[in-house]
Symmetry: C2
Subunit: 146 residues, 2 copies
DNA sequence: GAAGTTGTCTTGAGTTATTCAAAACAACTG
DNA sequence: CAGTTGTTTTGAATAACTCAAGACAACTTC
């Protein structure tokens, strides 16, 4: 994705096009599911004078505009991704923290409807899977074979 | 639930029975889905010399022993509850933060199996619903009627 | 029932992710 | 090109939580 395409994306969302914003979008295209600090590290080379606070500001603005989705897995800092609006879920590795997208389970509206919401109006259902990624499975197998 | 029943619960889990631990269990029986600070406040009157750090320690020990479940909804601090081992879910009010238990959706193993786990071994599926509680619905209706 | 051992609590400080505020600055408008 | 509005920089502050060391209490053994 080119910078000018990203610029258009920003403009369409009613946001001003700035270097930090384009850089953050570029970084999240390359490395999705990154936290603010990782994004800051990825952005710093191309935007030398920037700061972590600026990254937080950009992330908040882009999330509010619907350009980013913020996910907050238990026990880790907030992660951001560009894939929005499709209600997909995530699986997190309990060993290394790796995150992977999981498409919505087999076409289940039932999955997203509690049996008894106790009078609550349900707006969204959030599903997170926890498990072990292939790499860590190998590492664990290796270890137990020692 | 009496203190001695709680004491037995602790002993059965292989934990020493102490005043702060009994007090934390009592507090969580009365007010489930509480955070460390709220529990601290509820415990303080009956265990005058205690500290927030002690509460954190107790919560960690009881959670590790399987006596408590820790839930960490996005954007809020960690909450604890005594209901464990039944894989139930939660619905959180986006207005006031109220949390309510939701029994597992209509008997769905499918709900807990991602369509493509990408090589991950899935251990647990976590489901959180976000919506508006009855009280806040009323408040919002009222407000729009003004 | 008393002494010892082990684990728990208290006290105090430190860490990390995140947020707030004010001034300097840059992007879009006309 | 100048003005306005919104963004970024700089610096500091906050909240939730963790770590560490000594004081202390619960269960065990005698």
């Amino acid at each position: 994705m080119t910078d000018s395409a990203l610029a258009d994306t920003l403009r369409e969302a009613g946001l001003k096009v700035t270097e930090p914003r384009v850089a953050v979008l570029t970084a999240l295209t390359d490395i999705p599911h990154s936290d603010a600090d990782t994004i800051f590290g990825a952005v710093l080379p191309s935007v030398p004078g920037t700061s972590l606070q600026a990254v937080y500001g950009v992330l908040a603005a882009l999330t509010a505009a619907g350009l980013l989705r913020k996910i907050e897995p238990a026990g880790s800092s907030a992660l951001y991704e560009r894939r929005t609006g499709d209600n997909h879920h995530h699986i997190v590795c309990t060993e290394c923290g790796a995150v992977r997208d999981v498409d919505c389970v087999v076409g289940h509206a039932p999955c997203l409807t509690p049996s008894d919401a106790g009078g609550f109006t349900v707006h969204i259902a959030e599903v997170n899977f926890w498990g072990v990624c292939p790499d860590c499975q190998n590492a664990l197998t290796q270890k137990s074979a020692d």
